[in-house]
């Protein structure tokens, strides 16, 4: 069930009413939300609800026995066992086919013939997201940052439908207390929620769909047929597409949760205004960045040790972060590029600080140059993220050199204006959204209803007839 569909609107209307009607009765509220969330997930493939239940059971049992264990060694083994089980499930569904084909091809290269069975399991939607949440739940209990929750609480935490499919990756410490607490049924921050939902829909249905069909899909499908200008604009357009697609989803998820009385953490903070890659990752998919930092980078050693150790830790974290998005060498390359860029940035910061300079160069011009260069690097990495293969990525990039004689066919004033507008919103401070939300909140009920309906009409009119699934649904 996609968010921008009538099916979901009807589903949410029912879920909203049921949630608040049952709000005074916590156990019934939890059961209802759990049932609704499993129904929402089963819309794609009912059998994978069992997988979600299995991961919930592993997290619950693991968390329970970690807390019960009398020795540190016992706690550690329960933690390792639970995390390994969760990663095993994720690995089987997401990576086994990729690993098998690469191992088999390597074996063939050395004349060893077929040594592993080639299988390709169907990838359950959202498995990467709920597995990471389950891992964080177990590890947080191991670290004594979280108390084990009741089964029903853990199940709702992992399956809560607004975040289930593509995040944000919410931590137990953030969501479990809200699940247990009775929500304030008399004071819903509806104006903010509606603003998030409407903006998310607009970004996804109108902007992301438009730039995808206008330039991104054609240039990546056939890069050799397009000019260097098309190629450059195509990469910038993809940066806009994936931002509008993913942050649009997140906006809707945060808005829906807010209507149900639950607050999610922020997931995007104007990422294309970043001055370097470290700054970018503090602004892009923030809940994944902090997960990778807290459960991978810091356990690896983090910033401690020599420059070489830090560089190794960054590279491992970013490469695994890349592979989290999918079992493909292009995702690995995307992660490696970001890792290498961050290593360079880290060394630069360290050296500047040793020389008594600020870690980031100051001054207006320097600021804008750094923002520009960071954005170009991010776009370069996006080429690998979007490309279907290395061949496709290198064909794409080679046109930056060879594509100057070809006529530009896809760049239109509307496309340029759209890309510029999305980037300008991130780069130039503005009160427009807050002002509009405040204005909406002050209107009478009937005016608010008509305004919302008109905005929906604009979105459905400007959007395509069938909305493609969110990009991050694949991860």
């Amino acid at each position: 069930m996609l968010f921008p569909t009538i099916d979901f609107a009807i589903f949410f209307l029912v879920a909203f009413a049921l949630s608040w009607l049952l709000s005074p009765f916590p156990i019934y509220w939890k059961l209802a939300i759990l049932g609704l969330s499993y129904f929402f997930y089963a819309w794609w493939d009912p059998k994978f609800v069992l997988l979600l239940i299995a991961e919930t059971a592993i997290a619950q049992v693991g968390g329970h026995f970690i807390a019960l264990a009398k020795t540190e060694r016992g706690r550690k083994w329960w933690m390792i066992g639970s995390v390994a089980s969760l990663l095993g499930i994720l690995g089987y569904f997401k990576y086994v086919g990729f690993l098998a084909i690469n191992i088999d091809n390597l074996a063939r290269h050395f004349g060893m013939g077929n040594i592993v069975p080639l299988i390709q399991p169907t990838l359950p939607i959202a498995i990467s997201f709920f597995t990471f949440m389950a891992i964080s739940y177990v590890v947080d209990i191991y670290r004594r940052q979280l108390e084990p929750a009741r089964v029903i609480d853990t199940a709702v935490y992992l399956a809560f439908f607004p975040h289930l499919i593509a995040g944000p990756i919410v931590r137990g410490g953030e969501l479990l207390p809200q699940i247990r607490r009775r929500k304030d049924e008399d004071h819903i921050d509806y104006a903010r929620a509606m603003q998030l939902i409407v903006m998310g829909l607009f970004k996804k249905v109108v902007i992301s769909s438009y730039v995808a069909s206008a330039i991104v899909d054609p240039v990546f499908a056939s890069p050799k047929s397009h000019s260097a200008i098309d190629i450059i604009m195509g990469a910038w357009a993809y940066a806009v597409q994936i931002y509008c697609d993913f942050s649009g989803y997140t906006d809707i998820a945060i808005g829906l949760a807010l209507l149900l009385g639950i607050k999610f953490p922020v997931n995007f903070e104007k990422p294309y205004s970043a001055v370097d890659l470290q700054d970018f990752w503090r602004r892009w998919h923030i809940t994944l960045s902090r997960w990778l930092r807290d459960y991978l980078y810091i356990p690896l050693g983090g910033n401690r040790g020599s420059e070489a150790s830090v560089a190794r830790n960054i590279m491992i974290t970013m490469i695994l972060g890349g592979l989290w998005h999918g079992a493909n060498w292009t995702f690995l390359a995307w992660g490696a590029l970001h890792g290498a860029g961050q290593v360079v940035g880290h060394v630069r910061r360290e050296r500047r600080e040793k020389a008594g300079l600020p870690a980031i160069a100051q001054g207006t011009w320097r600021h804008w140059i750094q923002v520009f260069l960071t954005f170009q690097f991010v776009c370069l990495a996006w080429v690998f993220f979007r490309a279907t293969s290395f061949t496709n990525a290198f064909q794409y990039l080679s046109r930056l050199v060879t594509g100057w004689g070809t006529a530009t066919s896809l760049v239109t004033p509307l496309l340029v204006a759209t890309i510029a507008a999305v980037l300008a919103v991130q780069l130039v401070p503005s009160n427009v959204v807050d002002r509009a939300t405040s204005f909406f909140s002050r209107q009478r009920f009937a005016v608010q209803a008509v305004l919302l309906a008109l905005v929906l009409l604009v979105i459905t009119t400007l959007g395509p007839t069938g909305v493609a699934p969110f990009i991050y649904y694949r991860f």
Binding site: F16, H187, Y190, S222, K263, L456
Partner: protein
Amino acid sequence: MSDDELHEPSSASNAQGTPGSDAPSTRQAHDAHIEPLTLTSAKGFTRTTLPWRRVLGLFAAALAIWLVLDATTLQHNAQVSPVGTRRTVALAILNPIAATSRFLQISRIESTANQLIGRNANGSSRSNLMVVGPKKQKHTTTTSSKGVTTTTLDPLTHPSSAVPLRVLILGDSLGLDLGGSLQNALANTGVVTATLDGKESTGLTRPDYFNWPAELASDLPKTNPQVVVAMMGANDPQDFPGPPDIPFGTAQWNQQYEATVVKFMQEATSTGATLIWVSIPPMQDPGLNARVATINSLQHQAATQVKNVIYISSASILGNAQGQYTAFLLVNGQNVNVRTPDGIHITPDGATLLSNAVIQTMRTQMGIILP
């Protein structure tokens, strides 16, 4: 949200009005006496809160108004959805709303908006055509002194960058998988102008959703193709909408589908082009695979009835030795993943194999010399 400050009840900001005076229920009276909170954003802008029942009312009212404003589009979307209970229920709800919307002229808001952005009957606001390759050479028309006009057609078998071969590729999402790869490969020859026209979730069973014959009629004069490559049908195993509906799996359905495909093939070859029809590859799901086999069989029968149609069985290219579904194939001693994890679509490597087969067919069966 973390940037918001919460202010305790503010009597000055009761912006949601008062409930109706006609015998309010206890709950309404309760809601009416709730003081809204005023929240202030980091930038100093305020907004108020509402009780959940009023939010539900707002949500429902906005959806209801939108339903009326957008009724004709929603009705159309319901009409073009797969035949079944869901469609019947949706139409039962939307038909009277759309009729009312038209009667009250409310639907004109939406139709005017659609006109303003130039959306056409196939739901697209712009051409779906993606053209790549050397610039198309116009036909050379000469008039002799005796007044006899002769037209020199572009050579088919010896295309060049000056006189490129014109290829039109059509398809659904599987056709787009093939089309992107084929278009790129053809464009790389430097002697082919390849045009791709594809749309996901389409086929020949539901012209009310996407009218491929009309799309083709529009594409032919624009592209003047010498070769048409088509791959579609995976979305076709569904009832023909009536009344009366013609259920998939019946003899009547088979007859109608075959006739539809024959007509489409005749149209594609009507300007003298050769049509290369690529069948749907085997599917992982046994049920879908059986349905697709029916479609392939009918398309194959249709291909034998129309001149200048070459039929390529993709099962022989993407299937295993028995022509059954496989996700992996051994190519030049290396395993290649040819199908996506959904068990339906084709990976870029799979699409390369299929497009190589199409190009090979153009070379061997049509005698076209490509670099």
